[in-house]
Symmetry: C2
Subunit: 507 residues, 2 copies
């Protein structure tokens, strides 16, 4: 935090309180990370309780009268500071969060935290058993909780609005519907043209790639991309995620399939993109509410930018392909770069969102977004959800899941405690990844040539300067405007897809 | 917790509060475990702060007026319960801890926590650099803190008493001095007789033993001994320890030296002994102050019992030696069992406590115990400590450290925040390990024969029934009396040493 010469003494008190809450949140994150990486099965029951306890303590401390009083006392002081000063931003962001947080009673948070644990456990059982009936009562309760949560914020236009705004500030059901409608209209014809052609051969990715070598190679790559392993590390988990315990400790997790090179590698680069964002936040923000990404969409833009626009580009592999051939000589030594490039960019009508290619991915997201709205509006009952899911896959992607495991049970999101606001960030992220990348290239046309030489610093620095360092000082819309000079737009994404896949598929 | 038909409603409220505090303590433990195992260097600064924050919150919550009021309100109810009922024990133990805790101000705890982190960091730098001057100012401050802490408990006979009682309830400087004096008088002549003979050849332990195989073998052994890997796990660290996050998640850590088989293996068995204690506590105690070992001495008795009385016995290796030969055929295939047995039981005048054999080990502890008292009494200045240390090694063990790294800087204890009460538990543990083992053998004379067959269940169950399950329901003295039928005594240890080493060295 940049120190003005005479910081208001109450601001120092506020910062101390916020750092205490941040410390509790970090401990909560560690409890979660450990649960997902190393915790033995016997620790599960107590861990659920420990997570709930710490979340509740943090919520109580943040919504205390003392915080409210300090914010009130500092209101005049804040009004005199320049909008984009660190102190004004800290007070503005904290006020916004505080006003949201106090609307939600601690008792609700405690009940929800307990329910989240139970619902997750039910899903972890239902998914392998392919049995939606197990989660149905939990999901019904989750839906009630989500409605109750939304209703703590009366005056909304659509019941999903408060839930969307919690993760993508400034967006609403209406604005996303418009955006997604435009995008869908442009994507569907492309998907149809591509899928009318023979499917690309990606057999080269489905040989045996031993775990140890996969992990070693991907670590080498992300270090080269700019991920600081002195301030991070990578561990194995079931569902990969990025998590931060402090600005000096931003970790990623991954999973490796020995018969699918795609999964582990791109999952690592994806989570690293999230990690670069958090590692790039101004060190002065440590321990304050400013030390985080500004929205789910902007965060996802960074994972997707590094995973797709960089990691699935021909330039990228012109540098790294000899290295991966060296790591897996028997598997890739005889495979031409172009075959590999087309394999990692194979477009196909598929059932699993996280495995989907860049072109069809957003169709998966839109299905979920629409179903969330239907559920919240009461137009769709939970018991009818599997059928509605399958219907949408039939109409939108032309294929139908053989079972709920590859259908409605595939994503953890709804089963970990909320319906509403859970998916739009993925597509906002894709849209923004192309928009930010295009802006970086306008500023530094040499970036593609640098990537071809394995140099990523110019791109990394541009992202750091224009996005990462600000943490959540600015709103998503402000970040997009400042970094790209215009409002959020689907044009750069469409241009990127048309150009890249037009070339591959000769459209 | 066994539920009486009509639990006092206030007891339920108290239990809920205690579980909340226990959850915070568990999160603190996880912050520590992670710091010592996986945390990247960049996380250090924030981690120190996070640990301090959580410790302070737990201390504030435990010393709150509410807890005091609940204990007062429940005093009459507690008086009517049978002494050894779970509820009476919970109230008795909580009262005792509460009365201790409220004497120490939160502000002192916060200052100390901060100092602990700084002092540890200084030691971590000073030790490899072999530079006592780096830690000297920190240790001087630690000594002040320790005196200040003792003085929160006025009325003591010796200033170390409150510090000793915190980890070994019921013991005092005076009672330990008497005990150590007796032990020393009996040990010194034995050490002299043994070290007058040629030193045993332990070259077989100092071949190259790859880390992966060492870890795999020791894991296999501790599982056979009774450590439940579904409720625990083992990770690598610099200074091994056992740590508990709940009764279903009791972990150990170890370190491996590829050129010293001794270290890693016996360190693993040692920490596992601590782990068996915690894993064996009655599940009903989960989340309460009863869910822990009763003292540092009784805890250490379990690590040493499994490490030495079981793990360094001929019976144990009659079962496991073929297995370790199988794991390391090139290294041990041609080494006779008897050579190996004598190597792992080599007695020698040495400089490092943690590497010391069973016979000389307690001499190392006594040196530290006496120096702690001298420091606290003000008879010894911190700046003179290295010389005093070296003098004592010369007079007691007949050798002198070549430098402070293998002298006064070797143990972390004083540098992690306290002088006083840090070492007596090790020797109390050795004494008790032999006393408990002798009692188990009286009850089940078949145990040695079972160990020879690789069966450890009878011993494990006896320890569970007589020690582990009780957690800290009973005082150390009560546990010893109940389990062995007599008060703490050095006779079983002396008998064990005389018999074992008399046989090996033909005394």
């Amino acid at each position: 935090m940049q120190t003005l010469e005479k910081t208001h003494p109450k601001l120092q008190v506020l910062k101390n309180r916020l750092t205490e809450i941040n410390d509790i949140d970090s401990a909560t994150s560690l409890l979660y990370w450990d649960q997902a990486t190393y915790m033995p099965a016997g620790g599960a029951a107590a861990r659920g309780r420990q997570l709930a306890t710490l979340r509740q303590i943090a919520h109580e401390k943040f919504t205390s009268l003392e915080i409210g009083q300090l914010l009130d006392d500092l209101a005049t002081y804040a009004a005199d500071l320049p909008y984009d000063s660190d102190e004004a931003s800290l007070l503005r962001v904290t006020r916004r969060r505080y006003d949201r947080a106090i609307k939600v009673p601690s008792s609700f948070m405690a009940k929800l935290s307990q329910h989240r644990a139970e619902s997750y456990e039910a899903w972890a059982k239902a998914r392998p058993e392919n049995n939606f009936a197990i989660v149905q009562p939990f999901l019904e309760k989750t839906l009630e909780f989500s409605r109750e949560r939304a209703n703590f914020f009366p005056g909304y236009e659509h019941i999903a609005d408060p839930l969307i705004e919690a993760s993508d500030y400034g967006m609403s059901t209406a604005s996303i519907r418009v955006l997604f409608h435009q995008l869908r209209d442009r994507l569907v014809p492309i998907v149809q043209k591509i899928t009318a052609q023979p499917i690309a051969d990606d057999a080269c990715l489905h040989q045996h790639f031993p775990e140890t070598q996969q992990l070693a190679f991907s670590l080498k790559v992300i270090e080269r991309l700019g991920y600081d392993l002195k301030r991070g590390r990578q561990d194995k988990t079931l569902h990969p995620f990025m998590i931060k315990f402090s600005l000096g400790d931003v970790r990623i997790t991954t999973r490796v399939y020995e018969h699918d090179l795609n999964q582990g590698f791109f999952s690592t680069v994806h989570e690293m993109g999230h990690g670069l964002y958090e590692q790039g936040i101004a060190p002065d923000f440590e321990g304050t509410p400013l030390a985080g990404g500004t929205s789910s969409g902007v965060h996802e833009s960074q994972s997707r930018l590094w995973e797709n626009l960089v990691g699935r580009s021909r330039n990228f592999w012109q540098y790294f392909y000899p290295q991966i051939q060296h790591a897996f000589p028997n598997q890739l030594g005889q495979v031409p770069l172009e075959t590999f490039y087309r394999a990692i960019n194979k477009v196909d009508r598929s059932l699993i969102r996280t495995d989907a290619d860049e072109v069809t991915y957003n169709l998966h997201v839109m299905i979920r977004f629409d179903l969330e709205l239907d559920l919240l509006e009461g137009q769709l009952a939970v018991r009818d959800l599997p059928e509605a899911w399958n219907d949408r896959y039939r109409s939108d992607l032309g294929i139908v899941p053989a079972n709920d495991q590859e259908g409605v049970l595939q994503d953890v999101h709804w089963y970990s405690g909320q319906v509403g606001g859970m998916f739009q960030g993925y597509t906002l992220g894709n849209i923004l990844s192309a928009q930010f990348f295009a802006a970086a290239l306008r500023a530094h046309p040499e970036i593609p040539e640098q990537i071809r030489r394995g140099e990523f610093n110019t791109l990394h620095q541009w992202l750091k300067t224009n996005i990462y360092q600000h943490g959540c000082k600015f709103t998503p819309a402000e970040v997009v405007e400042k970094a790209t000079g215009s409002a959020l737009s689907i044009e750069p994404l469409m241009q990127y897809i048309q150009q890249k896949y037009g070339e591959i598929y000769g459209l």
